[in-house]
C-alpha cells in the first residue's frame, strides 16, 4: 500500500492557512500515487494550542476546518489530526483526535489513548483519553491508526513505562496489518535517533510495517523536526523524511505475512 506522508508546518490558530496547505499537499501526494495519506497530529489547529482549547469558538473553527477539508478530499483517504468534543460525560471536554476523510465526507474518527503530561506536555489538562480503539478497514486492509504518544509505550524498548495500555499491541491483536501514526513530536538533541530506534524495534518485533508522519516547524519554545518515516516489517527504512523541512513522501508498505 502506498502511504503518503505530509510532513508540514502548521500555524497555531491559522485554520485557513493550515487547511490550504494541507489540501495542496494532499493533491501532490495523490499525484505521486499515494493510496492513503497521513497529516500530523492536531494539524488543523496547530500544536500545541494550549489554553486556546478552552475557547469554544476555537474548537468550532477547527471542526469547521475539518468539514471544509473533507469537502475537498476525493477517493484517496486523508487522515488528519484535529480536536473533537468529548460526548462522554463525566469526562474532559475534548479529545485529541484523528479523522479519516474520503469523497467529501468524514468517514471515521479515532482518539488518542495515551496523553503525555510531563516535561512540555499538558494533554491531560484538556483531553479525555480513548479507552479502547480499533483498526480502520480500508479496501479490505486493516489499518492501525495511532496518534503520537500511542506508539511510545513499547514494553520491550522502555525500561519503565508510564502507561498500562499498549495501543499498538491492541490494534495488532485486532488484526491490524499496518501501523500508522500521526505525530507532533517535539525535538531535542538526539531525539530523532531515539524515535527511529524505537519505531524500528516496534516494526521488527511486531513484524509489521509502520509509517509515521511528524510535524515540522517551531511554535514558541518547541521545535518539531519532521523525520517522518516508513518502515517495513523487518524494521528497515523504506523512506525517511527530511529534518526541519517540509516534505511530501509516498512510501510503499507491503502487506507482510506475520509469522509466529
Amino acid at each position: 500500500m502506498k502511504i503518503g506522508l505530509l510532513q508540514l508546518n502548521s500555524t497555531v490558530g491559522d485554520f485557513l492557512a493550515n487547511q490550504k496547505k494541507l489540501l495542496v499537499a494532499y493533491e501532490k501526494a495523490c499525484d505521486l500515487g499515494a493510496e492513503f495519506i497521513l497529516a500530523p497530529e492536531l494539524f488543523l489547529c496547530g500544536y500545541p494550542p494550549r489554553d486556546l482549547l478552552l475557547r469554544p469558538d476555537f474548537i468550532d473553527a477547527n471542526l469547521a476546518a475539518l468539514e471544509e477539508t473533507a469537502k475537498n478530499v476525493g477517493a484517496i483517504p486523508l487522515c488528519v489530526g484535529y480536536v473533537d468534543r468529548n460526548s462522554e460525560k463525566p469526562g474532559r471536554a475534548l479529545r485529541n483526535a484523528a479523522a479519516i476523510l474520503q469523497n467529501g465526507k468524514i468517514i471515521w474518527r479515532t482518539h488518542k489513548s495515551l496523553l503525555p503530561t510531563y516535561d512540555v506536555f499538558d494533554e491531560d489538562r484538556y483531553f479525555e483519553p480513548a479507552k479502547k480503539i480499533e483498526p480502520f478497514v480500508c479496501n479490505g486492509r486493516k489499518l492501525g491508526i495511532t496518534i503520537c504518544e500511542d506508539i511510545w509505550n513499547d514494553q520491550d524498548f522502555w525500561p519503565e513505562r508510564l502507561y498500562r495500555r499498549d495501543p499498538v499491541r491492541e490494534l495488532i491483536s485486532q488484526g491490524a496489518e499496518i501501523i500508522l501514526n500521526i505525530s507532533a513530536s517535539p525535538w531535542h538533541d538526539g531525539k530523532e535517533n531515539t524515535r527511529l530506534e524505537m519505531l524500528r524495534r516496534v516494526a521488527r518485533d511486531e513484524k509489521i510495517s509502520l509509517a509515521q508522519v511528524n510535524l515540522v516547524g517551531a511554535n514558541d519554545e518547541l521545535i518539531f523536526d519532521g523525520h517522518s518515516v516508513a518502515l517495513d516489517a523487518r524494521g528497515e527504512i523504506v523512506a525517511l523524511g527530511k529534518g526541519f523541512a517540509e516534505e511530501i513522501l509516498v512510501a510503499e508498505l507491503s502487506r507482510e505475512v506475520r509469522r509466529q
Binding site: 516535561d119 512540555v120 525535538w187 531535542h188 538533541d189 514558541d220 519554545e221
Partner: protein, 255 residues
C-alpha cells in the same frame, strides 16, 4: 531582529543563527561599550558583523552610565561598589536595545546560555531583555562546539571571541570564572541536577567537590525567580528551563 554584540562567543552565535534564519538584512548588531569594555571586544564585534553582513551600530553607554552614577551619588553615599553598578550597565544596554526595538519594530534577541541562566549569572531587565532566547537551552560547553562548527570552513566568528576567557566586562578584569567553577565542571553538575533530577548528595557521590556542588545548586535554586521572568528559550535539550520545568520560586528544599 536586534541583539547586543559584546564581542563574546554567545552573542556571536546568536547573530550567526539570526542571520542564517532570517537573512543578514533583517539583523542588527549593537555594540554598547562602557568603561570596562576592552577594545579587543569591540573589534571582535565589528569583525563578526562584517563577516555576516549585518547592520552594525556602536552606541556607547558610558555617558549614560555617568549620569546614572550622578543620579545615585547621594543615596549611595558611604556604600561600596558592588553588583549594583555592574547591573546598571547591563540594564542600560537593555534600555538601548528596547528603544531600538520600539523605534524600528524589531524583536530583541537575548543571548544568554543555559549555564548562565541556570546559576543566575545574568541581569534581570538587563541582558535578559528580549522576546526570544535562541541559545538559552545550550550549555556553555556546547556553545564552544557549535561555534567551532560554524567556523569549520571559514572564520565567521572571530577566533578571539572563541579563545578568550569568558567575561561579562562589568568590572575591571572580570572573568566568569571569578564567580563560577570552570564550565566543564559546572555543566556536568547542571546536567545531573537539572536534567537528571539528582540532589546534592547524589551529585557529590558522582565525583564532585561537595563545596562546589553546594554552591552551584544553591545558585540554581536561588535564581529560579529570574528564570520566571526570562524570555522563552528554544528547547534543544531533554529538559529546558521554561514550560517543561516547573519549580516554585518560594521554596526551602535545600537538597
Amino acid at each position: 531582529m536586534i541583539l547586543g554584540l559584546s564581542g563574546g562567543i554567545d552573542s556571536a552565535l546568536v547573530a550567526v543563527l539570526a542571520a542564517d534564519a532570517l537573512g543578514a538584512e533583517n539583523v542588527m548588531g549593537v555594540a554598547m561599550p562602557a568603561r570596562y569594555s576592552s577594545s579587543g571586544s569591540l573589534n571582535d564585534a565589528e569583525a563578526l558583523a562584517k563577516n555576516l553582513g549585518i547592520r552594525y551600530e556602536i552606541l556607547p553607554i558610558e555617558p549614560v552610565f555617568n549620569s546614572v552614577e550622578k543620579q545615585l551619588e547621594k543615596v549611595f553615599a558611604g556604600t561600596k561598589p558592588n553588583e549594583a553598578e555592574e547591573n546598571v550597565q547591563s540594564r542600560l544596554r537593555g534600555v538601548t536595545l528596547m528603544a531600538l526595538s520600539n523605534k524600528f519594530g524589531a524583536l530583541v534577541l537575548t543571548t544568554g546560555n543555559k549555564s548562565e541562566m541556570a546559576v543566575g549569572y545574568c541581569t534581570l531587565y538587563g541582558d535578559m531583555d528580549g522576546a526570544l532566547a535562541p541559545i538559552a537551552d545550550v550549555l556553555k560547553s556546547d556553545i564552544y562546539k557549535i561555534a567551532r562548527w560554524v567556523n569549520r570552513e571559514r572564520e565567521i566568528i572571530p577566533k578571539n571571541s572563541i579563545s578568550k576567557p569568558p567575561s561579562a566586562e562589568l568590572r575591571p578584569n572580570q572573568t566568569d570564572q571569578d564567580s563560577l567553577p570552570p564550565y566543564e565542571t559546572l555543566d556536568a553538575i547542571l546536567d545531573l541536577y537539572v536534567v537528571k533530577n539528582l540532589g546534592k548528595p547524589e551529585i557529590v557521590t558522582r565525583g564532585f567537590d561537595a563545596g562546589v556542588v553546594n554552591d552551584v545548586v544553591n545558585k540554581i535554586n536561588f535564581s529560579e525567580y529570574k528564570r520566571r521572568q526570562a524570555a522563552p528559550a528554544l528547547k534543544i535539550s531533554p529538559r529546558a528551563f521554561g514550560m517543561g520545568r516547573r519549580i516554585p520560586v518560594a521554596q526551602r528544599f535545600r537538597l
